[in-house]
C-alpha cells in the first residue's frame, strides 16, 4: 500500500481543499511532523493554493452571469408559442397522459385497419332479435323467459331457426304428401324441433330456473331429428369399380346379393376385348337403408379399385314442384268450373279449353317429375364397373425384322438392276433410287420387303453381289391389343424390311493406309517402274504427280490401291526402286463389321524424290547471325512489354495505398489536435 509520503501531493491537495476526513487529516499531520521534505511541500502548496484562489477570484463571473446566460439563451432560441404547445408538453409529461395517448393511437390504427379491410366489427345485429322473436312465437309455455335482450352471439342461430321454420310451414301446408311420408308426421317434426332449439337456448340464458321444462322437451328431440331426416328427399347413389377374376361369376354373385337386399339389377352390359377379357357395367337398385351393407358385400367380389358415394338433396325442388302442382290443380278445377258455367260464347270456351289443356300438361309433367324423384329416392342406384384381371394383356406379338446392308461394288448400276430383277410376290421392292452426283460418282439405295420364309435366302444372295461393308439386323417384338408380357400370346413373324445402299468401290474407305518416301537419283524412271509394279500386283493407280523445285529437287507422288492380299509382295518389291524412308502405316480396324480382309483395299501414297544440288539460302553464317539478332530483338521487345504490363497492374494499387496512408495520417493528426 502506498504511504502518505509516496502520495504526498494528493494528500496535500485534499488537505488545502479541506476534503480530508478527520482521521486522514490526523494521519497527514502526524506524517508532516516526522518528515521535513513533506513539510516543505506543505508550505509551498499552501502558498500555491492561496495564489490560485486569488487569481480565480478575479476571474470569477459576476452575479448577473446566470441572468445573462438565460437572456442570451432566450435570444437564440425564441419560445415558439407559449400557450397551447407548452400545455401539451406539460400534459405529455404525465405518465397517465402518455398511456392514454398510446391507447388512442392504437385505437386509431385499428379503425384504419377496419376501414382498409372493410371488415365490420361484430356488433349486435337487428336480425338477431328478429330471429329470436320467431322462436319466441313458436314457444308457448316459456314466454316470460324468452329474454327480451337476446345476446348478439345467438344471431346466427336464431336466423337459421327462422329459415327452418319457413321450410317447415311450407311443408306442413302441402296438401299432397309423398307416399313414404305420413301426413300427420309432417306437422309434428317442425314444432318439436323448434321447441327443442328454443329450450336449448333458454337453458343457456337462464340456467336452473327452467330446468324441468327443458328436460321435458329434451325427450322429444330424438324423434324430431329422425322424422326430419325422413322428410328430406335424398337420392343416394354409389359407383364402384371392381377387378374380378371372372365376369360371369361376378354377375351371378351380384344378382344373388341384390336379391338378398331386396333390390333388382337394372341393366347389365359387357364388352369383350381383343385378348378375350371381359369388362362391363351393372346397374343395381337397392333400398337406400341397405346401400351400405350392399356395398360392403360387393367388396368381396374382387379387388376394389374405386368407390364413390353420393347423396343429392332434392328436398327443396321436390316441395317446390309439389306446391306448384297444387296450384295447378286449383287452377284446373277453376277452369273446369268455368266450362260448366259459361257456355254461350264459343270463343271463350275454346280459350278456356286451350288453357285447361296447357294446365293439364303442366300437371302431368310435374306429376311425372315427382314420380321420378320418388322412384329415385325409393331406391339407391349402384353402378358397378367390372373388369377381369390382366385387362391389358396383349393378344399376340409381332416380330419385326429390319436389316441394313451396305455394299461396295465395282459396277453399281449393274447390281442395282440385278437386285431390281429379284422382285417377286414374296420380295417386294418398296423404293429404289440411283444417284449420280456431279463428279460422276454413282450410288444406289434400295429398300425391299421380303416374306419371312424367303428372307434369309434372299439376303444371302444379295450379299454375294458385292463387298459387304456393313450388315445389321434389328428385331422388334410388338405387342398387339395390349401391353406388357403375356405367357400365352402367339408370336408371329412379320415381313423383313431390307434397306440397302450400294456404292462404288472407290468410295470405300481403305482398310490400311501406308505412306512412304523413296529416295533415288532418277525420279522419273523410278516412278514409271513403280506404276508397272503396281499393275503387276493388280493395284490401281489413283493419282500421280511430278514436280521439280528451283533447287533442282524432283518429286513424284503416286497414290495407288491394292488388295490386301498383294500388299506385302508390293512392299517387298519397292526396295528395288531406291532407299525406302519414312514408312507409316495406319490401319482401320472396324470392330463388329464383317470385313473380307483379303479383298479389302489398301491405299499407298508413295513419294519418289531426289535431293537437290544447290545449298539453301537459309543456311550459313549470315543466316544464323540474322536469325540470332532477330530473335534477340524480339525477346527484348517482349520483356519491355511485360514490364509495361506489370507497371499498369501495380500502379493503381500503389496509388490507392498511398491515398489510404495519407488519410489515416491525416485523421491521426486531427485526433491528436483534439486531444490537446
Amino acid at each position: 500500500m502506498a504511504t502518505i509520503h509516496d502520495e504526498i501531493d494528493n494528500w496535500l491537495a485534499a488537505d488545502v481543499h479541506a476534503q480530508l476526513s478527520e482521521k486522514e487529516r490526523h494521519e497527514l499531520h502526524t506524517h508532516l511532523v516526522e518528515c521535513p521534505t513533506c513539510r516543505k511541500l506543505y508550505q509551498e502548496n499552501k502558498i500555491m493554493n492561496q495564489i490560485l484562489e486569488e487569481k480565480f477570484m478575479q476571474e470569477k463571473q459576476d452575479a448577473a452571469f446566470e441572468q445573462r446566460m438565460v437572456a442570451r439563451f432566450h435570444d437564440r432560441i425564441p419560445d415558439p408559442s407559449g400557450g397551447i404547445s407548452k400545455l401539451i408538453v406539460d400534459l405529455m409529461r404525465l405518465r397517465a397522459m402518455q398511456i392514454t395517448a398510446v391507447a388512442a393511437v392504437l385505437l386509431a390504427l385499428m379503425q384504419v385497419g377496419h376501414l382498409i379491410t372493410r371488415e365490420q366489427p361484430s356488433f349486435k345485429e337487428p336480425a338477431a332479435t328478429a330471429g329470436y322473436a320467431m322462436v319466441d312465437k313458436l314457444e308457448t309455455r316459456n314466454k316470460q323467459v324468452a329474454a327480451t335482450n337476446a345476446p348478439p352471439s345467438f344471431g346466427a342461430l336464431g336466423k337459421s331457426d327462422s329459415r327452418r321454420a319457413d321450410e317447415a310451414t311450407t311443408f306442413a301446408t302441402g296438401s299432397t304428401a309423398p307416399q313414404n311420408v305420413p301426413v300427420p308426421a309432417a306437422k309434428s317434426p317442425a314444432q318439436p324441433d323448434k321447441k327443442v332449439r328454443s329450450a336449448e337456448i333458454e337453458r343457456t340464458i337462464v340456467p336452473g330456473s327452467n330446468e324441468s321444462v327443458a328436460e321435458g322437451y329434451g325427450t322429444s328431440s330424438e324423434t324430431a331429428t329422425t322424422s326430419s331426416s325422413m322428410n328430406r328427399k335424398l337420392i343416394r347413389s354409389a359407383e364402384v369399380e371392381v377387378e374380378i377374376a371372372s365376369f360371369d361369376d361376378a354377375i351371378q354373385k351380384i344378382t344373388a346379393l341384390t336379391n338378398e337386399e331386396r333390390g333388382y339389377v337394372a341393366t347389365t352390359s359387357s364388352e369383350k376385348q381383343a385378348n378375350g377379357k371381359l369388362k362391363g357395367k351393372v346397374v343395381v337398385k337397392v333400398l337406400p337403408e341397405n346401400l351400405d351393407r350392399f356395398l360392403q358385400k360387393i367388396r368381396g367380389l374382387g379387388e376394389l379399385k374405386n368407390q364413390t358415394l353420393g347423396t343429392e338433396d332434392v328436398t327443396k325442388a321436390y316441395f317446390d314442384t309439389e306446391s306448384r302442382l297444387k296450384n295447378a290443380r286449383v287452377m284446373e278445377q277453376r277452369l273446369i268450373d268455368m266450362l260448366k258455367k259459361k257456355s254461350d260464347d264459343i270463343n271463350d270456351l275454346l280459350q278456356v279449353e286451350k288453357e285447361l289443356g296447357r294446365v293439364r300438361e303442366q300437371i302431368e309433367q310435374m306429376q311425372g317429375e315427382l314420380k321420378y324423384w320418388d322412384s329415385q329416392v325409393q331406391f339407391a342406384t349402384v353402378t358397378i364397373q367390372l373388369s377381369e384381371k390382366d385387362m391389358e394383356e396383349p393378344a399376340a406379338f409381332l416380330l419385326k425384322e429390319r436389316a441394313q446392308l451396305a455394299l461396295y461394288a465395282p459396277d453399281v448400276e449393274k447390281i442395282y438392276n440385278d437386285i431390281k430383277s429379284l422382285a417377286s410376290p414374296k420380295t417386294q421392292i418398296k423404293n429404289a433410287q440411283l444417284d449420280r452426283d456431279n463428279t460422276g460418282r454413282v450410288s444406289a439405295r434400295i429398300s425391299m420387303l421380303i416374306a419371312p420364309e424367303e428372307s434369309d435366302a434372299q439376303i444371302a444372295h444379295v450379299k454375294t453381289m458385292g463387298r459387304v461393308q456393313n450388315f445389321q439386323v434389328q428385331t422388334e417384338r410388338v405387342a398387339q391389343g395390349g401391353s406388357g408380357m403375356s405367357e400365352n400370346a402367339r408370336t408371329k413373324r412379320d415381313k423383313v424390311e431390307l434397306n440397302m445402299t450400294i456404292s462404288r468401290e472407290e468410295q470405300e474407305q481403305a482398310f490400311q493406309e501406308t505412306s512412304l518416301r523413296i529416295r533415288t537419283s532418277a525420279v522419273d524412271d523410278r516412278a514409271k517402274e513403280l506404276r508397272n509394279l503396281a499393275e503387276k500386283h493388280s493395284g490401281r493407280i489413283r493419282s500421280s504427280t511430278f514436280s521439280r523445285d528451283p533447287d533442282g529437287r524432283e518429286f513424284a507422288n503416286v497414290t495407288l490401291r491394292v488388295p490386301m492380299r498383294n500388299y506385302n509382295a508390293l512392299m517387298q518389291s519397292l526396295g528395288a526402286l531406291g532407299k525406302v524412308e519414312n514408312v507409316s502405316v495406319q490401319r482401320q480396324d472396324r470392330s463388329g463389321a464383317q470385313v473380307d480382309e483379303a479383298n479389302a483395299p489398301a491405299d499407298m501414297s508413295i513419294q519418289v524424290y531426289s535431293q537437290g544440288n544447290i545449298v539453301s539460302s537459309e543456311t550459313g553464317l549470315i543466316a544464323t547471325l540474322r536469325n540470332t539478332l532477330g530473335q534477340g530483338a524480339a525477346a527484348l521487345a517482349w520483356s519491355l512489354r511485360m514490364i509495361g504490363v506489370a507497371l499498369a497492374f501495380l500502379a493503381p494499387w500503389a496509388i490507392a495505398l498511398a491515398a489510404i496512408i495519407w488519410v489515416v495520417r491525416r485523421v491521426v493528426r486531427v485526433r491528436a489536435g483534439r486531444g490537446d
Binding site: A13, N45, M48, L52, E59, Q61, M69, V70, R93, G673
Partner: protein, 178 residues
C-alpha cells in the same frame, strides 16, 4: 445521490420543458464556465462556449435517455465546444498572445499572472477542468466527480498532480513570495 427534484427537473428538460431547461442554465452555467475557462483561459470565449453548449444541448435534448446523466452530458458538450474554440484559435499566430502580456509586464502581479497562465496551459485538459471547478465554484470533490465522471481516488490524484505541477512551474515566483 441525486435528489428527486433535481432528477425530475432533468427529466422535464429532456422532454422539452423550457422552464426546466432555464433552471438548469441557472444552476449549471457557472460550473460549465469553469470548465470552459480551464480549457480556454479567456473569459469572453469561455462564456460564448458555455452559451453555445446550452443551445446545442437544447437542440439535441431528445438524444438523451437517462436523466441521471444530464449534468455529465452537458459538461461534455461544453468541453467539446471549448475545445473547438481552442482549436480555431490556434490558427492565430501564437506570437500575438505572447507579446501582449510582455507589453504590460510592469508589475510583479502581471508577471505572476503570465506564469500562472503558462503553468495552467501546460496542464492536461482534465486537470485544468478539475482545478477551475474547484477554485471558481469552490465545489466539493463529490460534485466535481459527478460532473467529470471520475472516482474519488482519481480526482484526488488529478488535483494533487495539478497542484504539484503548478508548484513546479511557479517555483521561482513562490520563492520570491516567501
Amino acid at each position: 445521490m441525486m435528489d428527486a427534484n433535481e432528477r425530475e427537473m432533468y427529466r422535464a428538460a429532456i422532454h422539452g420543458d423550457r422552464d426546466a431547461f432555464e433552471m438548469i442554465i441557472r444552476t449549471h452555467s457557472r460550473a460549465l464556465f469553469a470548465i470552459a475557462y480551464g480549457i480556454l483561459q479567456n473569459r469572453e470565449e469561455a462564456e460564448d462556449a458555455v452559451q453555445d453548449a446550452f443551445v446545442k444541448a437544447w437542440k439535441s435534448h431528445w438524444r438523451l435517455r437517462d436523466p441521471g446523466k444530464f449534468p455529465a452530458w452537458l459538461c461534455m458538450i461544453a468541453r467539446y465546444r471549448a475545445r473547438d474554440v481552442f482549436r480555431k484559435r490556434r490558427t492565430v499566430p501564437i506570437s500575438d498572445e505572447m507579446t501582449e502580456p510582455v507589453e504590460s509586464e510592469t508589475t510583479d502581479t502581471t508577471a505572476l499572472d503570465r506564469q500562472l497562465y503558462f503553468a495552467l496551459a501546460a496542464l492536461p485538459e482534465l486537470h485544468r477542468s478539475a482545478l477551475t471547478l474547484r477554485y471558481f465554484e469552490e465545489m466539493d470533490y463529490q460534485s466535481i466527480e459527478k460532473l467529470l465522471g471520475l472516482s474519488n481516488g482519481a480526482l484526488r490524484g488529478i488535483l494533487g498532480r495539478a497542484l504539484a505541477s503548478m508548484r513546479e512551474h511557479l517555483k521561482p515566483a513562490l520563492a520570491s513570495l516567501e
